[in-house]
Amino acid sequence: MNTVLILLPLVLTILYSLATVPILVWMERRIAGLIQDRLGPNRCHIKGVRLGGIIQSIADMMKLVFKEEFLPSHIKNKFYYLVAPSIAFMSAFLTFMVIPYADTITLGEQTYSMQALPTDLGVLWFLAFAGLGVYGIILGGWASHNKYAILGAMRATAQVIGYEVAMGLSLVSMLITYGTISLNEMVSYQTQSFFIIPAWGIFIQPIATIIFIVTAFAETNRTPFDAAEGESEIVAGYHTEYGAMKFGLFFVAEYIAMAASGALIVTLFLGGYQLPYLNTADLVNNFELLLWGIIIFALVTSVLFLKWMQKHNIFAMSGINETKLYTTLIIGFTVFAVILMSYYALANSSQSAKEIGVMLLQFAIFTVKLFFLHFVFIWVRWTLPRFRYDQTQKLGWNILLPLSLVNIFITAVVVVAGVNYGN
C-alpha cells in the first residue's frame, strides 16, 4: 500500500501526459471535424472496432515510431540537432511533475502527497520548465541549418520574451492573492467561498486569469500564437528538417505542454481537484450521500451515452458487430460500477476506505476539468486565425504587461488593506 500510494502520482503523471496524447490528437481531429461540419477520422479499425476513431491515432503513432530515422547530411551540429526534440519533450513532461491530482491523503500515521514531486515550489518549477521548453524549439531551429527552421526559431524566441514577462507577472498577482507558492495550498484556498461565489481564481482574479490563459496559449505554441510553425509562411517552422520520431517528439511535446498548461490553469484558477463549496473533510464525512449522487449521475449519463452511441454508430465495418459490443460494454460497466458503489454506500466502510474513495473522486474531478480545458484549447485553435508576429509582440508588451502590472498593484492594495483593516 505504501509503495502504491507513493508511485500513484508518478503513474498518473505518465497517464495524464503521455497516455493522453493519442486521445488528444483524436479529440483535436474529431472536434475540428465537427466544428467544420465534417466527421473527422472514423474508419481506421481493428477487427471492426473503431472506438470512435482513436485507432487512427494509434496507427499514426506506430507510423511515426517505425519510420526511417534519417539525418540530413547538411547538418553540422548533429548533437544539438538530435538533443533539441528531447529537450522540448523532457521539459514539457517535467512541467507536469508538480501538479497535485488529489488532496494530501492520511492513512493511519502516514501522509502521502498526490504530487509526483512533493515540493512546495510548484509555481516556480512550472515557470522554470515551461520556459525551458522553448529552448528545444530554438535549438532545433538553429541546428537544422535551414532558413525556414531558423525563422521559426527566431519567431519563437521573440515570442518568448514577449509573453513570458506577462505570464510571470500574472502569476505574481495569484501568489499575492493565495499567499503561498505551494499548489496544494492554493487548491485548499479555493475551497472557500465568498457569499455564494466559490473562491476560484477565475472569480477572484479574472484579469490575471485572462492574461495567464492567453500567455499559456503562447507558451504552448498553439493557435492563435503558433507563428513559430506558421505553415502558410515558413513551411513547418522549427521542425521543417525533422522526420519520423524526432518530429514525433516535438509533436508529442506540444500536446504534453498543452496538457501541463491546462493542468496548471485548472489548479490555479478552476479550483483544482476540488468541487466548489466542498472541501476534502466534507467529502469524507458525507461519503455515502456522495456515492448515491455519483450512482444517479452514472446511470443517467450512461443511458444518454448509450442512446447517442446507438443513434450515431450506423455503418458497421467488417468484423465484430460494433454497436452490440459497445452496448454490452457500457451496460456491463455501468452495472458493475453501480453494484460496487452501492456496496460501499450501504456497508459501513472504514475511514481509510472513505479517504481513498474521495481521492479517486478527486482524480476524476481533476480529469474532467483538465479535459474541459483541452477542449477549450482545441476549440480556440479551430476558431481563431493566427496572430501576426508583430501583433503578438504588441499584445504582449503593450497590453498584457501593463495590465498585469496594474493588476498586481490593485491586488496588493486589496490584500494589504484586507490584512490591516479587515475584520
Partner: protein
C-alpha cells in the same frame, strides 16, 4: 465619379481588446460543434463505400459506353476513327471491318478503350458523328486486379447501360 470612403474596422476600444470578437467567434464554432455532435446526420460528409453519391447526372463523364441502333439493336458505331483522332490520350484502338448485314457500310471489329490512359476529357463523345460513344454510364469507380482489366473491349462497352433517358443512338 466620387471617392468612396471605405470604413476601417478595428479602431474602436471594443475591437481593440479582441475578447468580444473572440467570444462571438467561439460561440459560433461551439454551435456548429454541439449541433453536429447531437445529430451527425446533418453533416454532408459521405461515408463512401456504405453511402453512394446520389447526385450523378447524365452529364457526368463516367466510363464510356457504345450505343445501339434503335431499329435493330446493333452497334451504332461506323468505325470512322473520329474519336480515336480526337483523343488526346490516344487510348482508343479501333480496327474497322466491312458490315455484311446491310444496315451500314462499316463497323468496328475491335474497339478497345484503355481506361488507365483515358483522361475522361469527353472529346471522343463530342467528336462522334453518330452518337455512338457516350460517357453517360454514371460509373465513377473502375476496379481491376491487373492492367488488362482496365482495357474495355467492344462487347464490354456495348453492355454498359446509360443513366440518361435516351438509351439508343440519336443519329439518323
Amino acid at each position: 465619379m466620387g471617392t468612396r470612403i471605405v470604413e476601417r474596422h478595428g479602431n474602436t476600444f471594443k475591437e481593440k481588446i479582441y475578447l468580444p470578437a473572440i467570444f462571438s467567434g467561439m460561440k459560433s464554432t461551439l454551435k456548429h460543434f454541439t449541433d453536429n455532435l447531437s445529430d451527425a446526420s446533418n453533416i454532408p460528409t459521405l461515408c463512401y463505400p456504405e453511402q453512394k453519391p446520389t447526385d450523378i447526372t447524365p452529364r457526368y463523364r463516367g466510363v464510356h459506353r457504345l450505343t445501339h441502333r434503335k431499329e435493330d439493336d446493333s452497334i451504332a458505331c461506323v468505325a470512322c476513327f473520329m474519336c480515336a483522332t480526337a483523343c488526346p490520350a490516344k487510348c482508343i484502338e479501333i480496327v474497322a471491318a466491312e458490315r455484311e448485314d446491310g444496315v451500314d457500310e462499316k463497323m468496328p471489329k475491335v474497339f478497345n478503350i484503355d481506361l488507365l490512359e483515358c483522361v475522361f476529357c469527353g472529346y471522343c463523345v463530342e467528336a462522334c458523328p453518330c452518337d455512338a460513344i457516350r460517357m453517360d454510364s454514371g460509373i465513377y469507380s473502375v476496379i481491376g486486379d491487373k492492367r488488362e482489366d482496365f482495357i474495355y473491349n467492344k462487347a464490354k462497352l456495348l453492355s454498359i447501360k446509360g443513366i440518361s433517358k435516351e438509351e439508343y443512338s440519336l443519329a439518323k
